[in-house]
């Protein structure tokens, strides 16, 4: 049998907490920059939220986009967005929401079909009317808020409120920067993106919980060790797991990005960023945020005392 690889060498002791001022500042800057981007540039909302019409059509041979743009633009639907999608023969047509109520969307589809003529394969048609769009926005906001609140409460109950608060702050950082990334690159923001953002939130906290677990354990074990040493020790001890899990999840999401088809691109991209930022924020925001925590905040008796005892024998 070969010798398994140790991705992170045993007894690695990187002094992460030395940079905590810098990483905090960076986190604040990135979060504010993301929020700023949202205000200045906004998001490229997909039809799920903005309403409108989306058609994925495939021509028998490579279509002339300029000609197509001219023909569809002449129909008077407002700004017609065209892009090739997946392969050169497939075109994504996006029309803004049509004035004149819900029925107008259907009329517009019929007109586009008439203008394109025969020979086209209508792979996908989606329309979202004004009412549904605003409801989807509402539900998405509720879902993200409730998920964050739920996770905060869970972490609070299982650990202490400082842990919950740090997890929440780090999660907000991860979620906001993920959304900021979508704004920066003008990537389409739709329901699938919201699912990705929620998954990022879940993953992010999943990662933090592992580090928190270790910090709590070490706090009970070394009751007098300075907090920065406790956090550093814990982060280093869990570093191997953190990188391995992030790496493995990244592999699967990368496979999704490369081979899962054009529909899932934005989704996979959000997750890739989320895995990266979630791992980073575990160490540099969530863990580092505990530097001012006092040992007395963690109940040291009962279960903790037992673990501390075990730790003492193990420490040898």
């Amino acid at each position: 049998m070969w010798k398994p690889i140790h991705l992170v060498p045993p007894n690695t002791r990187i002094d992460f907490m030395r940079w905590h001022r810098f990483t905090f500042a960076l986190a604040v800057i990135m979060t504010l920059a993301s929020v700023g981007l949202l205000f200045v540039k906004g998001l490229n909302f997909g039809i799920d939220f903005a309403g409108g019409i989306l058609m994925e059509v495939r021509a028998p041979q490579q279509p002339d986009l300029a000609d197509l743009r001219g023909r569809l633009g002449g129909l008077g639907f407002g700004e017609v967005a065209l892009q090739t999608f997946g392969d050169p023969n497939t075109v994504l047509i996006r029309l803004p929401q049509q004035e004149g109520g819900e029925g107008a969307q259907q009329t517009a589809i019929a007109k586009v079909r008439a203008q394109l003529g025969s020979g086209w394969d209508y792979r996908r048609t989606e329309t979202v009317g004004p009412k549904v769009g605003s409801e989807l926005v509402k539900n998405a906001v509720i879902a993200v808020t409730l998920a964050m609140a739920g996770i905060f409460v869970y972490v609070w109950i299982r650990y202490a409120w400082q842990f919950g608060m740090n997890a929440l702050l780090a999660m907000i950082h991860d979620v906001v920067t993920t959304i900021g990334l979508f704004s920066l690159f003008g990537l389409q923001f739709d329901l699938a993106t919201v699912a990705a953002v929620l998954t990022v939130a879940g993953y992010s906290v999943n990662d933090k919980v592992v580090v928190f677990d270790r910090i709590r354990f070490e706090m009970r074990r070394y009751k007098t060790m300075p907090m920065s040493d406790v956090v550093n020790l814990s982060v280093n001890e869990t570093l191997s797991r953190t990188t391995v899990t992030a790496g493995l999840t990244f592999i699967s999401v990368l496979a999704l990005y490369l081979f899962g088809g054009a529909v899932l691109h934005g989704f996979a991209l959000a997750l890739m960023w989320g895995i990266f930022i979630g791992t980073y924020s575990s160490i540099c925001i969530a863990a580092a945020g505990l530097l001012n925590l006092r040992h007395s905040r963690i109940r040291g008796d009962g279960e903790g005392a037992k673990e501390a005892g075990k730790g003492a024998t193990r420490g040898a």
Binding site: A192, V209, V244
Partner: protein, 515 residues
């Protein structure tokens, strides 16, 4: 660690076996599965519309229009009833959800009250306050009307789709006044939509004369002829309506032109008979959705309860109209407020892409796990593959729907499912480093990591659960697959690997772990 109780082993093996059996039908090609004997499990994962192709339509029932129409009718009927009874009135008008009228003579309130009872339709109430009478909808009346209207609409939609035979639609009410129609495998969505959208409200009215001249009297209305667009003035009150139809078929008249033959029920037949015998020589209009299809002259009284609608039909359009008339009219107009239609080709492409991503993601993780953890990586990989199989099996057993985001969830779960094993194995390495023997280190690894594993999984499950509760359509599919996958990974990553590890430890009794 050496001792893995027999009952636990039994449970693990049974779960794996049952899960695999449940998953097998979904993994087999359709044709092979169909050729299997009848005892063979056939329950497969339901593919979402985005994978098998089909239409998802969200309709809104036009309650506002229905209420407005009902109130207008009530207004007309009130006027007619009061005139007939010679009761003087002023201020007859629609206010909000009510029709109000003030009587000139307060003494006639009682008579008027009796007369107006016949005006009431479903959900309406008649109240008197001094000399003012109010006909209108109460809160409960309106809710009741909504309820009934949506139910009727669903029934009509079902009949209209069923008439074509092969499709298997899902039609469900959503919220107060919405209907979700999901039709897998439909090829011509435009045709489906136009069939569902048609109100198909058929009525027969007496023709007064040419339309568009002078003021239209309150009891009359001007309607266009379908072909010429010429206006005819017809009576508002219908002689008979489509709801009295019991049958409608496409056939041909003597000249070989396509027509629709129809048949009334006994009530319709009597009304139609009365009206035609009284009006021989006059024209009546056959009105479909506010357009006059034809306006023939009544030659004789039509007493048999059946008749012919001729118009400018093709065989096709006559057949469609007959179908719509048989299925009945929609009680209120329907509007598509959300549509998601996927062609079968795109669905098939998505399945292929999803499979490819699954296989490559799985291969990448398998290789990485072996490189990182050697023999224990192999154990984790076996557990991972079972995680996939069990997820599929459970999806099939629950009758859950697999969507493209669902496939994405399965791929994502690959990475997250081995996390538990990574946590355990990293912990074991630490324990070994701390000087524990092979077997106790393994034991500690599983025990100490358990709390962390549960905590980290719960946080993932919280966010996924919310996605499930608040998400719609494909996103729900993502949440379901992720929920099942992550939950199962708790079982596979803990129990299945533990079983394999304990067997291996018993066999080899290693001094040092190859980790």
């Amino acid at each position: 660690m050496l001792h893995f109780p027999t009952w636990k082993t039994a449970i693990v093996l049974i779960v794996l076996l049952v899960g695999t059996v449940l998953a097998i039908p979904s993994l087999m090609p359709r044709a092979t599965l169909d050729a299997m004997p009848s005892w063979f499990p056939k329950q497969t994962v339901t593919l979402g519309l985005d994978l098998q192709g089909g239409a998802h339509l969200l309709y809104e029932v036009g309650m506002d229009k229905l209420v407005a129409e009902r109130l207008n009718n009530a207004l007309d009927d009130t006027r007619a009833a009061l005139r007939k009874a010679n009761i003087g009135y002023t201020d007859l008008a629609i206010k909000g959800n009510t029709v109000t009228v003030t009587l000139r003579d307060a003494g006639s309130v009682e008579t008027a009250h009796d007369q107006l009872k016949s005006v009431l339709t479903e959900g309406m109430e008649l109240t008197a306050d001094g000399s003012t009478l109010t006909i209108g909808y109460s809160e409960t009346g309106l809710t009741q009307l909504k309820q009934r209207t949506v139910e009727q609409s669903i029934e009509v939609i079902r009949r209209r789709i069923d008439e074509t035979g092969t499709l298997e639609p899902t039609i469900i009410r959503q919220g107060e006044d919405r209907i979700v129609v999901q039709v897998p495998g439909v090829t011509d969505v435009e045709e489906l939509k136009s069939r569902l959208n048609a109100e198909a409200k058929l009525t027969f009215h007496m023709v007064q004369g040419e339309g568009g001249v002078g003021a239209v009297p309150p009891t009359m209305m001007d309607l266009p002829e379908e072909d010429s667009g010429q206006l005819l003035r017809v009576e508002k009150r219908a002689l008979v309506a489509g709801e009295n139809l019991v049958d409608a078929q496409q056939s041909f008249d003597r000249g070989g032109l396509p027509v629709i033959t129809f048949k009334f029920d006994s009530v319709g037949a009597r009304k139609f008979g009365d009206a035609t015998s009284k009006n021989v020589g006059r024209r009546f209009a056959i009105v479909l959705d506010n357009k006059i299809i034809s306006a023939p002259v009544i030659k004789d009284a039509i007493l048999g309860g059946s008749g012919i609608i001729s118009g400018n039909f093709t065989v096709e359009s006559a057949r469609d109209l007959a179908l719509l008339l048989r299925a009945g009219a929609l009680p209120a107009p329907l509007t598509v407020i959300e549509e998601r239609t996927v062609g079968a080709d795109l669905g098939a492409d998505s399945i292929e892409a999803g499979k490819l991503a699954c296989i490559i993601g799985l291969a990448g993780i398998i290789v990485a796990m072996i490189l990182l953890y050697g023999i224990f990586g192999i154990f984790a990989n076996v557990a991972l593959i079972f995680n996939g199989i069990l997820t599929l099996g459970l999806l099939a057993a629950f009758g859950a729907t697999l969507t493209l985001p669902g496939i994405a969830a399965i791929v994502l779960t690959l990475g997250m499912a081995v996390d538990a094993n990574v946590l355990i194995l990293e912990r074991v390495r630490e324990e070994v480093r701390n000087g524990r023997s092979a077997i106790t280190a393994m034991e500690f690894g599983y025990r100490e990591a358990l709390g962390t594993i549960v905590d980290s999984h719960v946080t993932t499950l919280i966010s996924t659960l919310l996605l499930f509760l608040l998400g719609s359509g494909p996103i729900k599919g993502f949440a379901v697959a992720l929920l099942i996958g992550v939950s199962i990974s708790l079982f596979t990553a803990l129990m299945v690997t533990q079983l394999m590890t304990s067997v291996w430890l018993r066999r080899t009794r290693p001094k040092l772990l190859p980790l």
